[in-house]
């Protein structure tokens, strides 16, 4: 066997036997899955299936009741969201969480936080080197805004953007952290079919350009069938199917979860 498949065999992210209990509710029940480097991995399922909970556990916002999450085959040496961000994990939120009082540009600059480190004194006094670095950061922010077609809105307050643009801004902010794995929680929610199509193209573009692995939650099943390399289906906290879109589409348990039993 050659070395390349062996390297590929270590998934970027593994979830093993993950359960998450909120009081009497078992939001995740012994869920296992693995996300391979470079793929677009979809997560679908009816409302309340535990998709967002799974994202929250992966991004260290919710502690799991049992089970573990592995990053490149090893336990994640981090327990806080900011540490995970530095490790290479970024996410967007189902109910958009922008910094509303900041400008569009500053939202992305906050995403560049990790790359802006400098001694406070040098920054306050505004040394020449510091000013140059500041200009580089602003340049980088504008590039990311151009990628999501928001460069003309850079100076507007984030709160003033319409819904679709807010979604794209959140994506630019997540990309600013230079992630390896990007979690997108319903990025197409509230978009019209044309916008959804554009978003599909954008997600593929950024995956190729930034060498990303993408995990995506989305309710629009036809879109997911087209976009994703592989899909996992959750229902009542359980993973009921996993595989290529074609395989998942024909899985009887999936059909039952979505359409109800034939009997």
């Amino acid at each position: 066997m050659s070395a390349a498949p062996l390297l590929e065999a270590v998934p970027l992210l593994q979830v093993e036997g993950l359960s998450c209990r909120f009081g009497g509710l078992l939001a995740l029940n012994n869920v296992s899955l693995a996300v391979r480097q470079g793929e677009i991995f979809g997560l679908i399922g009816p409302n309340g299936a535990g998709k967002t909970t799974l994202f929250n556990v992966i991004s260290a916002l919710t502690p799991p009741s049992s089970g573990r999450v592995l990053w490149r085959g090893a336990l994640i040496p981090a327990s806080r969201p900011d540490q995970l961000s530095r490790l290479g994990l970024a996410r967007t939120f189902q109910n958009l969480r922008l910094f509303d009082s900041l400008s569009v540009r500053d939202n992305v600059l906050v995403g560049l936080h990790r790359f802006a480190a400098s001694p406070l004194a040098a920054g306050l006094l505004g040394s020449a080197g510091e000013r140059r670095r500041q200009r580089q950061l602003e340049q980088r922010a504008l590039e990311l805004l151009a990628l999501v077609a928001l460069e003309d809105e850079a100076d507007l307050p984030a709160a003033s953007l319409p819904y679709g643009e807010r979604r794209r801004l959140e994506l630019a902010r997540a990309l600013a952290t230079e992630p390896q794995l990007l979690l997108l929680d319903e990025p197409a929610a509230g978009m019209n079919p044309a916008e959804k199509n554009d978003l599909c193209g954008l997600i593929r573009t950024i995956r190729d350009r930034f060498d990303l692995t993408v995990m995506i939650i989305e309710h629009h099943v036809p879109l997911m069938m087209r976009l994703c390399d592989r899909l996992a289906v959750l229902n009542f906290g359980e993973r009921i199917a996993l595989g290529s879109p074609a395989a998942v589409r024909q899985d009887p348990r999936v059909i039952e979860a979505y359409l109800g039993s034939a009997r």
């Binding site: 009082s101 936080h113 600013a176």
Partner: protein, 313 residues
């Protein structure tokens, strides 16, 4: 204007900035008067007990004042660093209560220690400036410097991270900001500013006692920021200046002045929920001034045309 009143206003503005720093990252800390009291106590002790700080007769040397302010700021900052990690785990109103408790603890300790002069406090603090105008001039320079630093801070990584935490702490953590660290930095900077302001105020007031750092002072300094606005550094400065001056300016109305003062504090947030000064308001003002400028130029042009007659091509 009376230089003494001006000095009080400037100190008010400095304290308002000290409340503003944690509030910029959404942390409602009322500890400023506590750190202010510590700073004043440090300066009062040093300059009345230690000969090189005291100078000769009633005047003390200016370098001694600067050194006292540095030491006072450092001590307050160190205390903030020591307790900040624990206290800042609390959020919102709980943090406010914990910091009020801190101010009270410091007040009671000062009241009961013999070397801080107990309830009477410390008297005859030597004067680095012979006139009140000297104090006001020095404090004005200090305030200008602090304002400039705050304005710079808002443009920097730390300032942006602070605003991001205020807007959405969870999202800020998810883009890689160590939120606990940033909140602690803001808290320490706030304490440092309050401490060095206290050292200056102790000299100006000539005496220093436990009453300086009280619950009342916590609320008053908070009112500066609520009234002026907590979105940009100019808000607390204006709030501190205006609300420090108001009780004195209202003396002519006699006993009514506290009622009027209360009404202003009440009506401020009702009429200006974001505070008097907001970035949007400033932007609007800038545009309007630009508009006036252009209008003026238009008038000037018309006037020229009237005097010289229309220009011929």
């Amino acid at each position: 204007m009376d230089a003494g009143l001006l000095e009080q206003m400037l100190i008010g503005a400095l304290l308002a900035l000290s409340v503003y720093l944690p509030l910029r990252c959404g942390q409602l800390s009322l500890a400023t008067p506590g750190f202010f009291a510590i700073g004043g106590t440090v300066a009062a002790l040093l300059s009345t007990r230690i000969p090189i700080f005291a100078g000769t007769g009633a005047t003390s040397p200016l370098p001694a004042l600067l050194l006292e302010m540095t030491l006072a700021g450092l001590l307050a900052g160190l205390l903030a660093l020591a307790i900040g990690g624990t206290v800042l785990r609390l959020r919102g109103i709980y943090l406010a209560i914990a910091t009020i408790a801190l101010v009270e603890i410091l007040r009671v300790i000062t009241l009961n220690l013999s070397f801080t002069g107990g309830a009477l406090g410390i008297f005859g603090i030597p004067q680095p400036f012979t006139t009140t105008a000297g104090y006001a001039g020095f404090t004005l320079v200090l305030l200008a410097l602090v304002c400039w630093l705050c304005a710079r801070l808002e443009q920097l990584r730390l300032g942006r991270a602070m605003a991001a935490i205020r807007d959405d702490e969870l999202a800020a953590a998810c883009v890689g900001i160590d939120t606990a660290q940033v909140k602690l930095q803001a808290f320490v900077l706030s304490a440092l500013l309050a401490g060095l302001t206290g050292a200056l105020a102790a000299h100006f007031l000539n005496s220093w006692n436990a009453k300086v750092g009280s619950f009342d002072a916590s609320i008053t300094t908070l009112a500066f920021v609520v009234f002026g606005g907590s979105r940009t550094w100019l808000g607390p400065v204006i709030g501190g200046l205006v609300l420090s001056a108001l009780p004195e300016l209202l003396r002519p109305v006699g006993d009514l002045r506290l009622i009027v003062f209360g009404l202003v504090i009440l009506l401020g947030p009702v009429l200006f929920p974001q505070g008097l000064i907001t970035p949007q308001g400033l932007q609007g003002l800038g545009h309007r001034l630009l508009g006036y400028g252009q209008q003026l130029r238009g008038y000037g042009h018309k006037l020229l045309v009237r005097v010289n007659g229309p220009r011929r091509p």
